[in-house]
Amino acid sequence: MNQRAQVLLWGAQRISAMVLALCVVVHLLTMIYAVRSGLSAAEILGRTQGSIAWFAFYTLFVFAVAVHAPIGLRTIISETFNWRGHRLDVLTGIIGLSLAMWGMRAVFGVFGAGAA
């Protein structure tokens, strides 16, 4: 990976961290509200299905994770195992795509029409 890409990765991780900070707070507040209100799974799904706003929010959340986590893992793997180079970059990409795929699967599961 060239130097320019390394710098852009750093920038992407910082921006995704800012997005995640907001998303985690909103997510936790939502969970606390749902638990304290005694909402059942069916009641939660009833509120989320078809909701464009919640779909957009959790899509943003998933993509922020898919950007942020692989870049951090790339650094951790590199520093822990002294592993650098193209294969590490490919692994980083695979981790990012996997997180995006699994995350969006969950998002469609909760917000899609067939979720219930």
Partner: protein, 237 residues
């Protein structure tokens, strides 16, 4: 007379600690202790020092597990129970006993383009730099580095990533980036960018915590990160 129990590293990368008994004295520094051992106990002990007053940056060692300049470190501040363990700096090859090979440390200053590049000649007048300017204040905050290597020794990222330029080289680059007379800004930003440069810093602040001159390489590195990203997005580098 009170005695200090002093364990000193002997050997190269391979070696062991050797114990010495050293008389405790008032206002005694760690460098005084090492000098006593070399002159009175074992003349084969190797260590490095020059000015003895905190200017040259030669005498840095690891004292009770912490990187320090030994000439200005009083025994009373670091010797719990009158015990001292003195080892060479971390993250640098050991030549012998307490002497490390500083080449990689200074080579990284060169890699970070730590040399001033100007355009003025001897026929030009002095550059006028306001002491109140933002850039000059940033230079002021980092310029007193004595190149002792304490920050490099204290930095965990250096131990994990041997290519990492390290706090001192990046601090030097930051002072030059803010030197309005310098003409190599883009080349220097490129030199300190990426996985081996400023973006490898985890902001652990060990360098800032340990710098004997009270500098904050971490702050300079943070500035470099932002400057490099801005230069990358604008196409400057």
């Amino acid at each position: 007379m009170d005695m200090l129990t002093v364990r000193i590293w002997r050997g190269t990368e391979q070696g062991d600690f050797q114990d010495f008994e050293v008389p405790r004295q008032e206002s005694q520094t760690v460098l005084d202790v090492v000098t006593y051992v070399q002159r009175k106990c074992d003349s084969t002990l190797s260590y490095r020092f020059a000015c003895r007053v905190g200017v040259c940056g030669s005498c840095a060692m690891t004292v009770n597990g912490v990187s320090r300049w030994t000439c200005r470190t009083h025994v009373s501040k670091v010797a719990a129970d009158n015990k001292l363990e003195i080892a060479p700096l971390r993250n640098l090859p050991v030549i012998k006993d307490l002497v490390t090979d500083m080449r990689e440390f200074f080579d990284k200053w060169a890699r970070a383009r730590g040399r001033f590049s100007g355009s003025a000649t001897r026929k030009d007048g002095f550059a006028k730099v306001s002491p109140e300017s933002k850039e000059r204040k940033r230079v002021e905050a980092g310029i007193e580095c004595i190149g002792c290597g304490v920050c490099y020794s204290a930095c965990d990222v250096v131990s994990w990533n041997k290519d990492y330029l390290g706090p001192a080289a990046l601090n030097r680059a930051w002072t030059l980036i803010n030197d309005v007379r310098d003409t190599a800004r883009a080349e220097r930003l490129a030199a300190v960018a990426g996985d081996a440069g400023c973006h490898a810093c985890h902001t652990h602040l060990a360098c800032t915590e340990r710098c004997p001159k009270g500098l904050s390489p971490t702050a300079g590195i943070a500035g470099l990160k932002r400057a490099v990203l801005a230069a990358t997005l604008s196409g400057e580098i």
